[in-house]
Symmetry: C2
Subunit: 226 residues, 2 copies
Amino acid sequence: MRKLARSGLRTASRAAAGSLREQVYNLLRKDIITGVYKPGEALREEVLAERYETSRTPVREAASRLERDQLLRFVPNKGYFVRHITVTELNELYEYRSIIECAAAELAARKEPDPELLAQLKELSEVRYRPEDRRSYIRFIEADTAFHIGIARMARNELLVRASTDLRCSIERLLYAGLDLGNYATGLTQEHREIYDAIRNRDEPRAREVMMRHVLGSKSKVFSLL
Amino acid sequence: MRKLARSGLRTASRAAAGSLREQVYNLLRKDIITGVYKPGEALREEVLAERYETSRTPVREAASRLERDQLLRFVPNKGYFVRHITVTELNELYEYRSIIECAAAELAARKEPDPELLAQLKELSEVRYRPEDRRSYIRFIEADTAFHIGIARMARNELLVRASTDLRCSIERLLYAGLDLGNYATGLTQEHREIYDAIRNRDEPRAREVMMRHVLGSKSKVFSLL
DNA sequence: GACATCCCAAATGTATACACTGATTGCAAA
DNA sequence: TTTGCAATCAGTGTATACATTTGGGATGTC
Protein backbone atom coordinates (compact mmCIF):
# COMPACT_ATOMS: atom_id res chain seq x y z
CA MET A 1 0.00 0.00 0.00
CA ARG A 2 2.81 2.40 0.78
CA LYS A 3 4.51 1.48 -2.43
CA LEU A 4 1.38 2.12 -4.42
CA ALA A 5 0.84 5.55 -2.99
CA ARG A 6 4.46 6.49 -3.50
CA SER A 7 4.34 5.53 -7.13
CA GLY A 8 1.37 7.74 -7.89
CA LEU A 9 1.19 11.32 -9.01
CA ARG A 10 2.24 12.38 -5.59
CA THR A 11 5.89 11.52 -5.94
CA ALA A 12 6.28 13.65 -9.03
CA SER A 13 4.50 16.64 -7.59
CA ARG A 14 6.22 16.31 -4.28
CA ALA A 15 9.61 17.62 -5.25
CA ALA A 16 7.94 20.67 -6.77
CA ALA A 17 5.41 21.39 -4.04
CA GLY A 18 7.51 20.65 -0.97
CA SER A 19 6.58 18.54 1.99
CA LEU A 20 3.33 16.67 2.21
CA ARG A 21 1.98 18.96 4.88
CA GLU A 22 2.45 21.90 2.52
CA GLN A 23 0.77 20.08 -0.32
CA VAL A 24 -2.15 19.09 1.85
CA TYR A 25 -2.35 22.63 3.21
CA ASN A 26 -2.51 24.12 -0.27
CA LEU A 27 -5.01 21.60 -1.60
CA LEU A 28 -7.27 21.68 1.43
CA ARG A 29 -7.11 25.47 1.57
CA LYS A 30 -8.11 25.71 -2.06
CA ASP A 31 -10.92 23.22 -1.62
CA ILE A 32 -12.36 25.18 1.28
CA ILE A 33 -11.98 28.52 -0.47
CA THR A 34 -13.58 27.32 -3.67
CA GLY A 35 -16.48 25.75 -1.84
CA VAL A 36 -15.74 22.05 -2.30
CA TYR A 37 -16.46 21.68 1.40
CA LYS A 38 -19.53 23.49 2.67
CA PRO A 39 -19.61 25.69 5.77
CA GLY A 40 -20.37 23.64 8.83
CA GLU A 41 -19.16 20.43 7.22
CA ALA A 42 -17.16 18.17 9.52
CA LEU A 43 -13.76 17.15 8.22
CA ARG A 44 -12.29 14.04 9.76
CA GLU A 45 -8.58 13.56 9.75
CA GLU A 46 -8.69 10.02 8.51
CA VAL A 47 -11.01 10.82 5.62
CA LEU A 48 -8.87 13.75 4.57
CA ALA A 49 -5.77 11.57 4.83
CA GLU A 50 -7.33 9.09 2.41
CA ARG A 51 -8.55 11.78 0.09
CA TYR A 52 -5.16 13.44 -0.22
CA GLU A 53 -3.36 10.10 -0.26
CA THR A 54 -1.35 10.57 2.88
CA SER A 55 -1.57 9.90 6.60
CA ARG A 56 -3.10 11.80 9.49
CA THR A 57 0.11 13.53 10.53
CA PRO A 58 0.47 15.93 7.58
CA VAL A 59 -3.30 16.44 7.59
CA ARG A 60 -3.27 17.50 11.23
CA GLU A 61 -0.48 19.98 10.62
CA ALA A 62 -2.24 21.42 7.59
CA ALA A 63 -5.55 21.64 9.42
CA SER A 64 -4.07 23.43 12.40
CA ARG A 65 -2.67 26.06 10.03
CA LEU A 66 -6.06 26.41 8.38
CA GLU A 67 -7.59 26.97 11.76
CA ARG A 68 -5.32 29.98 12.18
CA ASP A 69 -6.40 31.13 8.74
CA GLN A 70 -9.99 31.20 10.00
CA LEU A 71 -11.07 28.60 7.48
CA LEU A 72 -11.53 25.77 9.95
CA ARG A 73 -12.83 25.64 13.47
CA PHE A 74 -11.34 23.06 15.75
CA VAL A 75 -13.19 21.45 18.63
CA PRO A 76 -11.02 19.36 20.98
CA ASN A 77 -11.78 15.66 20.77
CA LYS A 78 -14.34 16.33 18.07
CA GLY A 79 -12.52 17.49 15.01
CA TYR A 80 -12.42 20.15 12.36
CA PHE A 81 -15.39 22.00 10.91
CA VAL A 82 -15.53 24.32 7.94
CA ARG A 83 -16.23 27.73 9.40
CA HIS A 84 -19.44 29.58 8.93
CA ILE A 85 -18.99 33.28 8.46
CA THR A 86 -21.44 35.23 10.55
CA VAL A 87 -22.46 38.80 9.85
CA THR A 88 -20.57 39.93 12.94
CA GLU A 89 -17.41 38.23 11.74
CA LEU A 90 -17.86 39.71 8.29
CA ASN A 91 -17.98 43.17 9.83
CA GLU A 92 -14.89 42.45 11.89
CA LEU A 93 -13.13 41.04 8.86
CA TYR A 94 -13.65 44.17 6.81
CA GLU A 95 -12.84 46.43 9.73
CA TYR A 96 -9.56 44.60 10.20
CA ARG A 97 -8.90 44.56 6.49
CA SER A 98 -9.29 48.30 6.27
CA ILE A 99 -6.81 48.74 9.12
CA ILE A 100 -4.20 46.49 7.54
CA GLU A 101 -4.57 47.47 3.92
CA CYS A 102 -4.97 51.19 4.42
CA ALA A 103 -1.81 51.20 6.51
CA ALA A 104 -0.07 49.15 3.83
CA ALA A 105 -1.15 51.55 1.08
CA GLU A 106 -0.01 54.57 3.06
CA LEU A 107 3.36 53.02 3.85
CA ALA A 108 3.79 51.83 0.27
CA ALA A 109 3.35 55.43 -0.86
CA ARG A 110 5.76 56.67 1.79
CA LYS A 111 8.70 54.38 1.27
CA GLU A 112 11.21 54.29 -1.53
CA PRO A 113 9.55 52.12 -4.21
CA ASP A 114 11.12 49.02 -5.69
CA PRO A 115 10.83 49.63 -9.49
CA GLU A 116 10.31 45.97 -10.27
CA LEU A 117 7.52 45.60 -7.72
CA LEU A 118 5.95 48.79 -8.97
CA ALA A 119 5.90 47.45 -12.52
CA GLN A 120 4.30 44.22 -11.36
CA LEU A 121 1.70 46.19 -9.45
CA LYS A 122 0.86 48.17 -12.56
CA GLU A 123 0.31 45.02 -14.57
CA LEU A 124 -1.79 43.44 -11.86
CA SER A 125 -3.91 46.55 -11.51
CA GLU A 126 -4.87 46.27 -15.18
CA VAL A 127 -6.24 42.74 -15.05
CA ARG A 128 -9.92 42.74 -15.97
CA TYR A 129 -12.46 40.03 -16.24
CA ARG A 130 -15.32 39.41 -18.60
CA PRO A 131 -18.74 38.98 -17.04
CA GLU A 132 -20.12 35.46 -17.38
CA ASP A 133 -16.60 34.15 -18.01
CA ARG A 134 -15.83 32.02 -15.01
CA ARG A 135 -12.23 31.44 -15.90
CA SER A 136 -11.42 35.09 -16.41
CA TYR A 137 -13.06 35.81 -13.07
CA ILE A 138 -10.83 33.29 -11.33
CA ARG A 139 -7.80 34.86 -12.97
CA PHE A 140 -9.04 38.20 -11.69
CA ILE A 141 -9.28 36.86 -8.15
CA GLU A 142 -5.69 35.67 -8.35
CA ALA A 143 -4.52 39.00 -9.70
CA ASP A 144 -6.51 40.78 -7.00
CA THR A 145 -4.74 38.76 -4.32
CA ALA A 146 -1.34 39.41 -5.87
CA PHE A 147 -2.13 43.11 -6.15
CA HIS A 148 -3.10 43.55 -2.52
CA ILE A 149 -0.23 41.48 -1.21
CA GLY A 150 2.07 43.36 -3.58
CA ILE A 151 1.10 46.61 -1.90
CA ALA A 152 2.04 45.15 1.47
CA ARG A 153 5.35 44.12 -0.07
CA MET A 154 5.93 47.67 -1.22
CA ALA A 155 5.31 48.79 2.35
CA ARG A 156 8.45 46.79 3.18
CA ASN A 157 7.11 45.23 6.33
CA GLU A 158 7.06 41.46 6.56
CA LEU A 159 4.46 41.49 9.32
CA LEU A 160 2.10 43.46 7.12
CA VAL A 161 2.77 41.09 4.24
CA ARG A 162 1.88 38.18 6.42
CA ALA A 163 -1.24 39.84 7.77
CA SER A 164 -2.37 40.64 4.23
CA THR A 165 -1.64 37.11 3.09
CA ASP A 166 -3.62 35.66 5.96
CA LEU A 167 -6.52 37.93 5.17
CA ARG A 168 -6.68 36.72 1.60
CA CYS A 169 -7.85 33.29 2.74
CA SER A 170 -11.11 34.73 3.99
CA ILE A 171 -11.40 37.30 1.23
CA GLU A 172 -10.85 34.82 -1.58
CA ARG A 173 -13.44 32.60 -0.04
CA LEU A 174 -15.95 35.43 -0.27
CA LEU A 175 -14.93 36.19 -3.83
CA TYR A 176 -15.42 32.57 -4.85
CA ALA A 177 -18.81 32.60 -3.17
CA GLY A 178 -19.62 35.70 -5.23
CA LEU A 179 -18.69 33.70 -8.30
CA ASP A 180 -22.02 31.94 -8.18
CA LEU A 181 -23.94 35.01 -7.28
CA GLY A 182 -23.30 37.45 -10.06
CA ASN A 183 -20.96 40.20 -11.11
CA TYR A 184 -19.39 40.89 -7.81
CA ALA A 185 -16.28 42.61 -8.94
CA THR A 186 -17.63 45.39 -11.12
CA GLY A 187 -15.49 48.48 -11.06
CA LEU A 188 -12.69 46.97 -9.04
CA THR A 189 -10.17 47.33 -11.85
CA GLN A 190 -10.71 51.07 -11.99
CA GLU A 191 -10.21 51.31 -8.23
CA HIS A 192 -7.04 49.26 -8.44
CA ARG A 193 -5.72 51.70 -10.98
CA GLU A 194 -6.44 54.64 -8.67
CA ILE A 195 -4.64 52.93 -5.81
CA TYR A 196 -1.68 52.20 -8.02
CA ASP A 197 -1.52 55.81 -9.19
CA ALA A 198 -1.61 57.18 -5.67
CA ILE A 199 1.25 54.92 -4.63
CA ARG A 200 3.31 55.72 -7.70
CA ASN A 201 2.80 59.43 -7.02
CA ARG A 202 3.92 58.92 -3.43
CA ASP A 203 0.68 60.50 -2.25
CA GLU A 204 0.22 58.94 1.19
CA PRO A 205 -3.11 60.42 2.24
CA ARG A 206 -4.66 59.67 -1.13
CA ALA A 207 -3.34 56.10 -1.13
CA ARG A 208 -4.96 55.52 2.26
CA GLU A 209 -8.19 57.21 1.24
CA VAL A 210 -8.59 55.39 -2.06
CA MET A 211 -7.81 52.08 -0.40
CA MET A 212 -10.40 52.80 2.27
CA ARG A 213 -13.04 53.45 -0.39
CA HIS A 214 -12.00 50.28 -2.18
CA VAL A 215 -12.33 48.14 0.95
CA LEU A 216 -15.62 49.71 2.01
CA GLY A 217 -16.93 49.27 -1.52
CA SER A 218 -15.99 45.59 -1.47
CA LYS A 219 -17.67 45.25 1.86
CA SER A 220 -20.96 46.70 0.74
CA LYS A 221 -20.90 44.52 -2.38
CA VAL A 222 -20.44 41.43 -0.23
CA PHE A 223 -23.19 42.48 2.11
CA SER A 224 -25.55 43.17 -0.77
CA LEU A 225 -25.18 39.53 -1.79
CA LEU A 226 -26.50 38.26 1.53
CA MET B 1 8.96 4.47 31.11
CA ARG B 2 5.55 5.52 29.88
CA LYS B 3 4.07 4.50 33.18
CA LEU B 4 6.60 6.54 35.08
CA ALA B 5 5.94 9.66 33.08
CA ARG B 6 2.20 9.29 33.47
CA SER B 7 2.47 9.04 37.20
CA GLY B 8 4.51 12.22 37.54
CA LEU B 9 3.45 15.79 38.04
CA ARG B 10 2.28 15.90 34.48
CA THR B 11 -0.89 13.95 35.01
CA ALA B 12 -2.09 16.29 37.69
CA SER B 13 -1.32 19.44 35.74
CA ARG B 14 -2.72 18.01 32.56
CA ALA B 15 -6.38 18.30 33.33
CA ALA B 16 -5.87 21.92 34.32
CA ALA B 17 -3.63 23.00 31.47
CA GLY B 18 -5.31 21.18 28.62
CA SER B 19 -3.68 19.02 26.00
CA LEU B 20 0.00 18.28 26.01
CA ARG B 21 0.61 20.40 22.94
CA GLU B 22 -0.85 23.38 24.77
CA GLN B 23 1.26 22.74 27.82
CA VAL B 24 4.40 22.38 25.76
CA TYR B 25 3.47 25.49 23.80
CA ASN B 26 3.05 27.54 26.95
CA LEU B 27 6.19 26.24 28.63
CA LEU B 28 8.38 26.52 25.56
CA ARG B 29 7.02 29.95 24.76
CA LYS B 30 7.77 31.15 28.24
CA ASP B 31 11.26 29.67 28.16
CA ILE B 32 12.06 31.43 24.92
CA ILE B 33 10.57 34.74 26.07
CA THR B 34 12.38 34.70 29.37
CA GLY B 35 15.68 33.85 27.75
CA VAL B 36 16.16 30.26 28.90
CA TYR B 37 17.07 29.50 25.29
CA LYS B 38 19.43 31.94 23.62
CA PRO B 39 18.87 33.46 20.18
CA GLY B 40 20.33 31.25 17.49
CA GLU B 41 20.17 28.17 19.67
CA ALA B 42 19.07 25.01 17.89
CA LEU B 43 16.15 23.18 19.48
CA ARG B 44 15.83 19.55 18.56
CA GLU B 45 12.47 17.90 18.77
CA GLU B 46 13.66 14.86 20.62
CA VAL B 47 15.54 16.85 23.24
CA LEU B 48 12.53 19.08 23.83
CA ALA B 49 10.33 16.02 24.06
CA GLU B 50 12.53 14.63 26.85
CA ARG B 51 12.76 17.96 28.60
CA TYR B 52 9.01 18.46 28.71
CA GLU B 53 8.37 14.79 29.39
CA THR B 54 6.41 14.01 26.29
CA SER B 55 6.92 12.79 22.73
CA ARG B 56 7.84 14.53 19.51
CA THR B 57 4.26 14.93 18.30
CA PRO B 58 3.08 17.59 20.78
CA VAL B 59 6.48 19.26 20.56
CA ARG B 60 6.19 19.59 16.80
CA GLU B 61 2.75 21.12 17.04
CA ALA B 62 3.87 23.56 19.71
CA ALA B 63 6.98 24.50 17.76
CA SER B 64 5.06 25.17 14.57
CA ARG B 65 2.83 27.58 16.48
CA LEU B 66 5.88 29.30 17.92
CA GLU B 67 7.23 29.72 14.45
CA ARG B 68 4.13 31.70 13.57
CA ASP B 69 4.67 33.74 16.72
CA GLN B 70 8.07 34.73 15.36
CA LEU B 71 9.87 33.12 18.26
CA LEU B 72 11.30 30.20 16.32
CA ARG B 73 12.66 29.88 12.83
CA PHE B 74 12.12 26.61 11.08
CA VAL B 75 14.48 25.20 8.48
CA PRO B 76 13.15 22.15 6.61
CA ASN B 77 15.03 18.98 7.40
CA LYS B 78 17.18 20.86 9.88
CA GLY B 79 15.01 21.92 12.74
CA TYR B 80 14.00 24.84 14.89
CA PHE B 81 16.19 27.75 15.91
CA VAL B 82 15.49 30.49 18.42
CA ARG B 83 15.08 33.64 16.37
CA HIS B 84 17.51 36.48 16.39
CA ILE B 85 15.86 39.86 16.20
CA THR B 86 17.60 42.10 13.72
CA VAL B 87 17.38 45.88 13.76
CA THR B 88 15.32 45.77 10.59
CA GLU B 89 12.85 43.37 12.15
CA LEU B 90 12.69 45.51 15.27
CA ASN B 91 11.72 48.49 13.15
CA GLU B 92 9.10 46.45 11.34
CA LEU B 93 7.79 45.09 14.62
CA TYR B 94 7.20 48.53 16.08
CA GLU B 95 5.79 49.86 12.83
CA TYR B 96 3.31 47.01 12.79
CA ARG B 97 2.59 47.39 16.47
CA SER B 98 1.73 51.05 16.02
CA ILE B 99 -0.67 50.15 13.21
CA ILE B 100 -2.45 47.48 15.24
CA GLU B 101 -2.52 49.14 18.61
CA CYS B 102 -3.36 52.65 17.47
CA ALA B 103 -6.27 51.26 15.50
CA ALA B 104 -7.33 49.26 18.55
CA ALA B 105 -7.19 52.30 20.81
CA GLU B 106 -9.19 54.40 18.37
CA LEU B 107 -11.85 51.74 17.96
CA ALA B 108 -11.97 51.10 21.70
CA ALA B 109 -12.76 54.77 22.17
CA ARG B 110 -15.35 54.69 19.41
CA LYS B 111 -17.41 51.70 20.41
CA GLU B 112 -19.83 51.28 23.26
CA PRO B 113 -17.65 50.28 26.22
CA ASP B 114 -18.15 47.15 28.27
CA PRO B 115 -18.19 48.46 31.89
CA GLU B 116 -16.52 45.38 33.28
CA LEU B 117 -13.70 45.48 30.76
CA LEU B 118 -13.29 49.19 31.38
CA ALA B 119 -12.91 48.57 35.10
CA GLN B 120 -10.32 45.88 34.48
CA LEU B 121 -8.45 48.24 32.19
CA LYS B 122 -8.39 50.90 34.87
CA GLU B 123 -6.90 48.50 37.39
CA LEU B 124 -4.32 47.24 34.94
CA SER B 125 -3.32 50.75 33.99
CA GLU B 126 -2.43 51.44 37.61
CA VAL B 127 0.03 48.60 38.07
CA ARG B 128 3.47 49.96 38.86
CA TYR B 129 6.76 48.32 39.53
CA ARG B 130 9.58 49.08 41.90
CA PRO B 131 13.00 49.54 40.34
CA GLU B 132 15.44 46.78 41.26
CA ASP B 133 12.52 44.51 42.18
CA ARG B 134 12.58 41.76 39.62
CA ARG B 135 9.35 40.20 40.72
CA SER B 136 7.37 43.41 40.59
CA TYR B 137 8.79 44.05 37.13
CA ILE B 138 7.55 40.67 35.93
CA ARG B 139 4.13 41.44 37.34
CA PHE B 140 4.26 44.72 35.48
CA ILE B 141 5.02 42.93 32.21
CA GLU B 142 2.03 40.70 32.72
CA ALA B 143 -0.22 43.64 33.50
CA ASP B 144 1.16 45.47 30.47
CA THR B 145 0.22 42.54 28.25
CA ALA B 146 -3.25 42.30 29.75
CA PHE B 147 -3.71 46.05 29.36
CA HIS B 148 -2.83 46.14 25.69
CA ILE B 149 -4.83 43.04 24.85
CA GLY B 150 -7.69 44.48 26.92
CA ILE B 151 -7.79 47.51 24.65
CA ALA B 152 -8.09 45.26 21.62
CA ARG B 153 -10.95 43.50 23.43
CA MET B 154 -12.69 46.80 23.94
CA ALA B 155 -12.35 47.42 20.23
CA ARG B 156 -14.63 44.40 19.84
CA ASN B 157 -12.78 42.84 16.98
CA GLU B 158 -11.48 39.31 17.41
CA LEU B 159 -8.96 39.70 14.62
CA LEU B 160 -7.43 42.69 16.38
CA VAL B 161 -7.39 40.76 19.64
CA ARG B 162 -5.52 37.97 17.98
CA ALA B 163 -3.08 40.31 16.26
CA SER B 164 -2.38 42.04 19.57
CA THR B 165 -1.94 38.71 21.34
CA ASP B 166 0.49 37.51 18.71
CA LEU B 167 2.47 40.71 19.00
CA ARG B 168 2.91 40.26 22.72
CA CYS B 169 5.18 37.25 22.17
CA SER B 170 7.82 39.43 20.60
CA ILE B 171 7.17 42.41 22.85
CA GLU B 172 7.37 40.41 26.06
CA ARG B 173 10.60 38.92 24.87
CA LEU B 174 12.03 42.41 24.51
CA LEU B 175 10.71 43.41 27.92
CA TYR B 176 12.34 40.38 29.54
CA ALA B 177 15.59 41.23 27.77
CA GLY B 178 15.27 44.73 29.25
CA LEU B 179 14.96 43.10 32.65
CA ASP B 180 18.68 42.54 32.75
CA LEU B 181 19.52 45.88 31.27
CA GLY B 182 18.04 48.42 33.58
CA ASN B 183 14.90 50.40 34.22
CA TYR B 184 13.29 49.93 30.89
CA ALA B 185 9.75 50.69 31.80
CA THR B 186 10.04 54.10 33.41
CA GLY B 187 7.02 56.26 32.87
CA LEU B 188 4.92 53.58 31.23
CA THR B 189 2.33 53.58 34.00
CA GLN B 190 1.62 57.25 33.47
CA GLU B 191 1.19 56.67 29.73
CA HIS B 192 -1.15 53.77 30.41
CA ARG B 193 -3.27 56.04 32.51
CA GLU B 194 -3.49 58.60 29.71
CA ILE B 195 -4.54 55.93 27.24
CA TYR B 196 -7.18 54.68 29.64
CA ASP B 197 -8.53 58.19 30.17
CA ALA B 198 -8.80 58.87 26.47
CA ILE B 199 -10.72 55.66 25.92
CA ARG B 200 -13.02 56.27 28.86
CA ASN B 201 -13.72 59.76 27.54
CA ARG B 202 -14.52 58.30 24.12
CA ASP B 203 -11.94 60.62 22.57
CA GLU B 204 -10.88 58.72 19.46
CA PRO B 205 -8.19 61.01 18.07
CA ARG B 206 -6.58 61.38 21.46
CA ALA B 207 -6.66 57.64 22.11
CA ARG B 208 -4.84 57.05 18.85
CA GLU B 209 -2.38 59.84 19.46
CA VAL B 210 -1.50 58.85 23.01
CA MET B 211 -1.09 55.23 21.98
CA MET B 212 1.19 56.28 19.15
CA ARG B 213 3.38 58.21 21.57
CA HIS B 214 3.39 55.24 23.92
CA VAL B 215 4.49 52.81 21.20
CA LEU B 216 7.12 55.16 19.80
CA GLY B 217 8.40 55.79 23.31
CA SER B 218 8.72 52.06 23.93
CA LYS B 219 10.51 51.69 20.65
CA SER B 220 13.11 54.32 21.40
CA LYS B 221 13.67 52.83 24.86
CA VAL B 222 14.32 49.43 23.30
CA PHE B 223 16.66 50.89 20.72
CA SER B 224 18.56 52.80 23.38
CA LEU B 225 19.37 49.47 25.03
CA LEU B 226 21.13 48.15 21.94
C1' DG C 1 48.40 17.64 -0.35
C1' DA C 2 44.06 18.69 -2.28
C1' DC C 3 39.86 17.40 -4.12
C1' DA C 4 36.14 14.45 -5.24
C1' DT C 5 33.19 10.73 -4.06
C1' DC C 6 30.84 7.66 -1.30
C1' DC C 7 28.95 6.28 2.89
C1' DC C 8 27.14 6.91 7.36
C1' DA C 9 24.92 9.21 11.04
C1' DA C 10 21.78 12.51 12.81
C1' DA C 11 17.73 14.85 12.41
C1' DT C 12 13.35 15.76 10.48
C1' DG C 13 9.19 13.82 7.61
C1' DT C 14 5.67 10.43 7.58
C1' DA C 15 2.99 6.52 8.87
C1' DT C 16 0.71 3.90 12.13
C1' DA C 17 -0.36 1.75 16.51
C1' DC C 18 -2.24 2.57 20.83
C1' DA C 19 -4.56 5.59 24.65
C1' DC C 20 -8.01 8.39 26.04
C1' DT C 21 -12.32 10.98 25.94
C1' DG C 22 -16.96 12.27 25.02
C1' DA C 23 -21.16 11.00 23.07
C1' DT C 24 -24.65 7.91 21.95
C1' DT C 25 -27.39 4.03 22.33
C1' DG C 26 -29.53 0.28 24.48
C1' DC C 27 -31.16 -1.98 28.41
C1' DA C 28 -33.04 -2.32 32.83
C1' DA C 29 -35.41 -0.65 36.72
C1' DA C 30 -38.58 2.55 38.84
C1' DT D 1 -42.97 5.61 29.75
C1' DT D 2 -39.17 7.70 31.48
C1' DT D 3 -34.85 7.96 33.57
C1' DG D 4 -30.35 6.57 34.71
C1' DC D 5 -26.44 3.79 34.13
C1' DA D 6 -23.25 1.26 31.57
C1' DA D 7 -21.04 -0.32 27.58
C1' DT D 8 -19.52 0.52 23.15
C1' DC D 9 -17.79 3.25 19.49
C1' DA D 10 -16.14 6.98 16.84
C1' DG D 11 -12.58 10.15 16.62
C1' DT D 12 -8.95 12.83 18.35
C1' DG D 13 -4.46 12.80 21.45
C1' DT D 14 -0.04 10.80 21.90
C1' DA D 15 3.73 7.75 21.23
C1' DT D 16 6.74 5.44 18.40
C1' DA D 17 8.53 2.99 14.45
C1' DC D 18 10.11 3.63 9.96
C1' DA D 19 11.50 6.57 5.60
C1' DT D 20 13.95 10.22 3.71
C1' DT D 21 17.05 13.78 3.44
C1' DT D 22 21.14 16.25 4.30
C1' DG D 23 25.67 17.34 5.78
C1' DG D 24 29.98 15.81 7.18
C1' DG D 25 33.72 12.84 7.49
C1' DA D 26 36.62 9.32 5.87
C1' DT D 27 38.87 7.28 2.19
C1' DG D 28 40.82 6.92 -2.11
C1' DT D 29 42.79 8.88 -6.17
C1' DC D 30 45.06 12.34 -8.96
